[in-house]
Symmetry: C2
Subunit: 340 residues, 2 copies
């Protein structure tokens, strides 16, 4: 694509405390030319996800930190615009890990690289959300860790987000009762009225663990059997106080601590008293469930039993703002950046 | 047993903070006469266990509090001295939940009541320790929660105690490496030299999480795969920092918080980062494993592959002192009260 420019966003510096726009830098380079065996993908959508904040830090975690002065990591959805690999043809719609840039050159033979998607049933952007990593995260935690049963109550943090919204709807499909926690009356109304959760608690109404725990007790008269936890800190403490014996906690995130804050679990003794199981997981480590999960999630969308919502920022330059906003709950549903 | 007296220890008051001898009261009553279907058991041994401290409090837990002015709850080992039930005869050696008293009348038909034991292979007191609830606790946590595999490293808190000493030896039987934590050089030496743990860390040498974690890293060069946790608080925090991805924590006690102290888990984010599973359990809720576990534990003792040690207080009146001492680590091995 001679002569075309490729805008990219690099990680310019690591945050000290709260991440800011100054941690990023927009640059322009030439669009690279694919070598033999490679394809050139033009990105239509960038996925914005909480894990990105963790990668910005140098602290030890399950994944290596995002390198400085390199293109920000991230899932992407786009179209093959040039192919020098027989597996791919121009016009193929694909998802991959293209990062925060307009174009990416990808090894066409790498089975971990691009995945072709069928947009005849669900739109391309959904493969970054309800039929993508967030959806499979919900599916795995609910089915493989919580092992939800009909009649149980499942608590879902960040219930209006990309993961939480799927967790609650899947729980309902399994015959369970979903109760959400979200920030603000608009999100809570969407969670109950559109997604069919039994109740949704506005965490802004509850400044401390005691108040939130009391609200959870009211919303969960039979207690909580499964807790899909993606917030941590006080929210997890409050949930533990309402959990039934032998309850399960699927721990997929601790967004409360993503800016480096300490997030102690104050009521750890409840793990013993209520004989709870708490398990942390990273969905990319369980590739064996992806085909089954993606199939069910797509079917549920087509059937109208799985609804989703997107917050769309327009233009690559908006990606940092979109990420920082998501970390404070500014998004409503899946946060995306549109590149067209 | 007309004319004989039965000494009993009652819970006189609930502790405010640290439990004291004033929370107990010694009384004397007549030895009761068994009615039809009942048997009279003379106790030879009282078992002293950490869970008793929890029962002394009125706080909500997995079990109902010990009632005030009633005989303190507890496992007992003794001999049937009078029987009005065809299932039992005078001289039968039994374990049961007779409580802190010299004699108890028991319903002979209650399958949850007495259990006859065979002292031809192991002595009666062992049925309160290595071949009793502590031993099965070790067996369950190691096999059903940690699911230990050959070559793994298992960390064992309170390693010189009734439960911990069995955990480490069972781990070795399974081909794993056991590393202990205990209080004082004498206990640590017994754990490594007599029980065959690879290493034992004296927690008295380590005032904070950082120091203990550094010692654990040295003692566990390949990381920790399974943590049998019965202490909680800082010990658990330190262990989490050294745990390998997908490690398991079997949580059977939090003795650090038994006097009512808060025991926050400061490094909860590590559950996610290392994709750990933490599970609390109460061994009496898993009766299905008891026969298999007790059989293996007795066989290992007979084979000389499972060693144990007892701290014996003499006389019923010493039971409160024995319990309070155990809560601060004064015991060495299984804490018992001898009634003969």
């Amino acid at each position: 694509m001679l002569g075309l420019m490729n805008q990219q966003i690099l990680l310019a510096s690591r945050p000290r405390g709260v991440a800011t726009l100054e941690n990023f830098r927009l640059v322009e380079t030439s669009v690279p030319t694919p070598a033999a065996g490679q394809v050139l993908v033009r990105h239509r959508w960038l996925s914005i996800d909480p894990y990105m904040r963790g990668r910005m830090s140098a602290a030890k975690s399950y994944a290596a930190p995002q390198p400085l002065d390199a293109v920000m990591i991230g899932q992407t959805a786009g179209v093959v615009v040039e192919s020098r690999c027989s597996r791919w043809k121009v016009g193929d719609e694909v998802v991959g890990m293209g990062g925060w840039q307009q174009y990416a050159v990808v090894d066409g033979e790498d089975r971990q690289g691009l995945r072709k998607v069928d947009t005849s049933r669900v739109p391309l952007s959904a493969f970054l959300g309800a039929v993508g990593m967030p959806g499979v995260t919900a599916w795995y935690g609910l089915n493989k860790i919580i092992e939800v049963k009909p009649g149980q109550t499942v608590l879902v943090g960040a219930a209006a987000g990309a993961v939480g919204s799927v967790v609650g709807q899947l729980a309902r499909v399994r015959g369970a009762r979903a109760v959400g926690i979200a920030g603000g009356p608009e999100k809570c109304a969407w969670v109950t009225e559109t997604l069919g959760f039994e109740a949704c608690i506005d965490h802004r109404d509850h400044a401390d663990v005691r108040s939130l725990a009391a609200a959870l007790k009211l919303a969960c008269p039979d207690g909580i059997d499964g807790n899909f936890e993606n917030v941590g800190g006080k929210v997890l403490d409050a949930a533990l106080t309402v959990m039934n014996p032998f309850g399960r906690v699927a721990l997929c995130g601790m967004i409360a601590g993503y800016e480096g804050e300490a997030i102690p679990l104050t009521l750890a003794r409840l793990i013993l008293q209520s004989r709870l199981r708490i398990e942390g997981f990273i969905v990319t480590e369980h590739p064996e469930v992806w085909p089954e999960a993606l199939r069910e999630l797509a079917d549920l969308i087509v059937d109208g039993r799985l609804r989703y919502r997107e917050s769309i920022a327009v233009g690559l330059a908006q990606a940092p703002t979109a990420l920082l906003g998501m970390l404070t709950g500014a998004n409503f549903g899946k946060q995306l950046v549109s590149l067209e």
